[in-house]
Symmetry: C2
Subunit: 230 residues, 2 copies
DNA sequence: AAATCAAAAACTGCATGCAATACTGCTGCA
DNA sequence: TGCAGCAGTATTGCATGCAGTTTTTGATTT
């Protein structure tokens, strides 16, 4: 079973067969997603070049790549900056990710192979044990696989990639989702409905269940920020 | 009412306030989408630089931008090439576009303002006249607006941009869709159902109607290629 | 003390050059 | 005649330098 959630950082250690530009794009992108480079930070080409011990050329090219993914904003003749995400945009991104996940669930219900259905069921059961033992870290990791299985089950790499990209992009804003008390069993119950619908081939139910699931995650997120802001 | 289907080519004539790189990315991208640069064509940096009378640097950066959109494929240490699209990928892209359009229709049914609903209805009625007069060119143009209204009505720029991008990307493969005999009135009838569902706020029906609509377009496409291949 | 303006510093956009890698065609051998 | 190895060429990846624009800073004025 091969599941690759993060696809840019493959071969991060081995430096051969990859251009400086690609490595820089991956590193700077990770720095942004991990919060090392905060939104609004100016990406000074000189500084970055010095920091990574390369010239400005690959830095410029890497920044342009990141701009296309939306991670940084390009302003002609002025410094590129790490893209700011307004609450309104965040809301839109969460909705979009929810819709994409729901669509993947729908397609999975329609076109998963029997083996894929069994894998999903098996993964869900494995997560049941993690809920029992209240293993939050394990559940988070297994949750990624659960969702990745549904992306893959859609048999549509375009939609799957879009969903993965958005999930990755929203990562920094979802970290605390499973810390809310009682979230683990609730999440597992929602997964139960999603899994059942997919395995039984009920496309509409899979769509609805997934939409409901991710909407609740979003609620959790919004609740947390509201608390933080207060 | 402002609808911008193509957003890269804004200010193509006026050369100020836009970097060479941006202009090049737009021009080369258009060349690819219009078929001037066929899939598989090698993008020689020297040749392109000479052709557009700039140095290799902006050409390289433009190519990297296009690579991020999927229009060209980057192979380290070897020439970038115009991305080839296999029939399997094309199928996936059509499915993805259909799902995105259907999702936008669903969201439109839920969240369009009364004014937006009226605009959609009005646009649909206008297209009725074009069907009567069998104005294919006019219908094609109006069809773009009809769909753009639904993208915008989703009130989700991420999903809308994804749909627009895919539609643009698939453009070269959909050209002949309205030439099939009887396609105009049939398309209009499908639009009728989509419009009715959205205006009346029936999200599920809007989703289903749009999915059906774009699937039929895809059938038309596949039929044409099969004919061509035979 | 705050605001304004000008000069300087900093930074981006682009051109060019060099080194390293990939490709092409040729020659020699089976 | 066909294939393998090799030299030459073409082409990419990256560094560096310069010009033009933006930003910053400091002085001057109100």
């Amino acid at each position: 079973m091969i599941i690759r959630v993060v696809n840019e950082t493959v071969e991060m250690t081995s430096s051969n067969k990859q251009t400086q530009t690609d490595k820089l794009a991956a590193e700077i992108g990770d720095a942004i997603l991990s919060g090392v480079l905060a939104p609004g930070t100016r990406l000074d080409e000189h500084r970055l070049a010095e920091q990574y011990a390369v010239s400005r050329t690959p830095v410029r090219e890497a920044i342009r790549s990141l701009a296309a993914t939306g991670l940084v904003e390009l302003r002609p003749r002025r410094s590129a900056v790490v893209a700011e995400i307004t609450p309104a945009q965040l809301e839109i991104m969460f909705v979009a990710m929810g819709e994409l996940e729901a669509t993947c669930a729908r397609l999975s219900a329609m076109s998963m192979t029997p083996i894929e259905r069994r894998r999903l069921q098996s993964q869900h059961e494995r997560m049941g044990a993690l809920v029992e033992s209240d293993d939050v870290a394990g559940f988070i990791e297994a949750n990624l696989i659960f969702h990745a299985l549904i992306y893959a089950g859609s048999h549509n790499s375009i939609l799957a990639d879009m969903a993965v990209g958005l999930r990755r992009r929203l990562g920094p804003y979802r970290r605390a989702q499973f810390r809310s008390p009682g979230r683990l069993p609730r999440s597992h119950a929602e997964h139960e409905r999603i899994m059942q619908a997919i395995v039984s081939g009920d496309a509409a139910a899979a769509h609805a269940a997934m939409l409901n699931h991710v909407s609740l995650v979003e609620d959790t997120f919004i609740g947390l920020t509201a608390t933080r802001a207060a």
